[in-house]
Amino acid sequence: MAIFNLNINGKKQQVDVDPNTPILWVLRDHLNLVGTKYGCGIAQCGACTIHLGEVAMRSCMLPISVVGNQPITTIEGLSENGDHPVQKAWLDHDVAQCGYCQTGQIMNAAAFLKANPNPSDEEIEAAMNGNICRCGTYTRIKAAIKTAAAG
């Protein structure tokens, strides 16, 4: 066990955990931020996507010990009222079915659009291929990303 000081959604947080603990479980079990989801634990599904700085990361394989003081953003901190352009586009297109994968999809899409505000279809596909949606909402996800990009 060790004490870690984290910067999550603009707030300082302190936890006392095993240094190998993935950020996913720190968020879910210790900080009650459950919007970040567990899907596979091996960086294959994207359900656990967060932002480390401005980069989308799979939190299930990201040990707390390597995070340092880099700011973490989770779905709960992406916007104050759910009005980030990507979230709004998701609501416009009523993307979700079960909804379980969608926070990871949104976090991945938000970081991607920040780096590439005007993506082609192929670029969207390449960027989103690491995020599985078992319900098969891919056509809506893609349409929502385009809406968000169009602003």
Binding site: W25, R28, G99, N131, G136
Partner: protein, 751 residues
Amino acid sequence: MAIIKTTYNRRSFLKTTALAGGGMMIGFSWLTGCQPAPEAGLEIPKEWFEINSFLKIGENGVVTIMSPNPEFGQNVKTAMPMIVAEELDVDWKNVIVEQAPFNTDLYTRQMAGGSQSIRQGWQGLRMAGATARQMLREAAAQAWQVPVEEISTEAGVLYHKNSDKSAGYGEMAAAAANIPVPEEVQLKEVKDFKIIGKSRKNVDGLKIVTGQPLFGVDYSRDGMLIAMIAHPPAFGMKLKSVDDSAARNMPGIKDIFTIKTYEDDYERNAFDTNTFPELVAIVGNTTWEVMNAKKALRIEWEPFSDYSETVNSWGGKQDVRIPAGLESTTAHITKMAEMAAKPGNVLRKDGDPEAAFKNAAKVIERTYTAPFLAHNCMEPMNFFAHVTADKAELAGPLQAPEFIEQTLSARLGMPLEKIDIQMTRMGGGFGRRAYSHHMVEAAVISQKVNAPVKLLYTREDDMTFGIYRPAYHATYRAALDADNKLIAYHVKAGGIPESPLGRAANRFPAGAVDNYLAEEWAIASNITIGAFRAPRSNFLAGAEQSFLDEVAEAAGKDPIEFRLELLERAQNNPVGETNDYEAARYAGVLELAREKSGWGQEAPNVFRGVAAYFCHNSYVAHVLDLTIENGAPRVEKVCCAIDCGIVINPDAAANMAEGAIVDGIGNAFFGAMTFKEGVPEKNNFDNYRMIRMSEAPRAIDVHFVQNDIDPTGMGEPPFPPIFGAVANALYKATGKRSYNQPFLGEKPVLG
């Protein structure tokens, strides 16, 4: 206007205490809190007046409607309340939706399965709204001293035209709550619907995109411990011994012990499937600590011997033999081919198929196979349980609480009144969560450690726990005469451990061919199976629709024309009396898909396949366009036509169909669970290939047949025929027929 007696499920319309606090256990409504979404801008009423168990009205006119059935992405949580709101005649903007407590006395069928939520809920939901509207009208009539017939309503307001009086529902709610439930009510005409048939957004949309707690895995309680299980690594194995000396003292670990999910002599029901009767449970403070301790366990497993168990399927008792042995996919393939070569159990025979085949000008025979499939719900199996001496509280994702409550009651030795099951939003179901052994496991673990517990399966636990879609095999034969007319048709299908055919022997093209034979067989196995989106149909449709495509080609006919001719025969002069489809509606979806896809006008280098199927009371046809890009097939577009009667929430229904299409393409291309010496060869998404965005269709067009037929199934019917459409388009693109799923697997899995 239809006048309906309210005797149907009358208890639902009587006042109850259900709305007071979310079920019989007050104060246990963490997930169902009735806070409206902030953007709705609704004022929460100071006082609620309960009209019946489906709805309550606030003094300010805001209405809370209970959604009775579990939600797993099929969007019933929006659609079911829309039906109530329609008949209540309220403005949808003033509606708050809550997940109803589990109480079948009040809400009858509270289940997600068989594409039946809307179909079976339809009448009761309409009546819940209509009786409330009637009571509001009565209250207004009494207040204004006018005949009730003269009171009209619109968007949550009561009017008396002659005296120019009006009042919002909120103003009359207190009085309406004391009006006796009417003996009969009027239902709206379909043409007068204002909410049904107009797309409404998912009521949980904002919570989903902001990551608020909704799912079973999100459930939390003070003092809650985390539990995991370890199960045998192979089918055919059981627990021998556990050495927990290394794990027991690891940080955060509270206890490690073995559990039996059911008592030894328990007579299970058909949904109590218990793949691994004895498990190791690991309980600790946090998920990561429990995961690590689980890895540190040293467990010995041993093969089990043949055994039998009694399955009591709602009164029909059956002894089921579970064979010993460590099974492999390669052996399965050989065994299925052997069984297929022997005569099967005849399900239906029309005319004289033997003679017709003998006299045929052309006989076509083809064999199709498909592997086991894992459901792979995005949210792994999990459940919250808090069992004390005098009550059991459960919360989690499950499709069919009514299948498991008796099981739990028997296991805990606790009467049903002391058990409360809360239905959380499910991160997918696909049939898997109709089997809730994990709920019982959570309860047994909670009882043992005497604390609230959340049981979580790892992805690996989830994927290797069985309850799979069975492996299937089907051989089809068709006889054409000299005029290329289909004169005989023979299907012989089987699977491990069940046949896909059964009652589907009476589906198309049965009834359209004079000489018809359907046979089936099955091979026992210790690999457990369960319902998987459109059970059995999800294999049959693909096989049959690929076969018909090949027969049409052999007959020199357009594949749609060929099917329509057969359907015309079934319509005008059906063979046999037990045909399980309406030929005209079946033809209707094919015609709609033909029109909307511009059949026969595809662009160069676009390869088209068509398929149609009837299941779960609905009809679906797909036209699928495929191109070859860098040597790999890419689905460009799917044009889908559906006849499921009245569509409640069209955009959400289209979303469901899109999902079913993507799911079907993924499983047709890649889906497979294989075994070696009893061990599932895939245990996570690095080796179980799931469809991803770059493999999904570029566009999906969904069209609904417009009619006034009461709604039928929607979640499952678009799934089965997509397998056929994929196979037929692949043939056009490559010149080669696909007989064995998955069509594009890294290595062919079966055959």
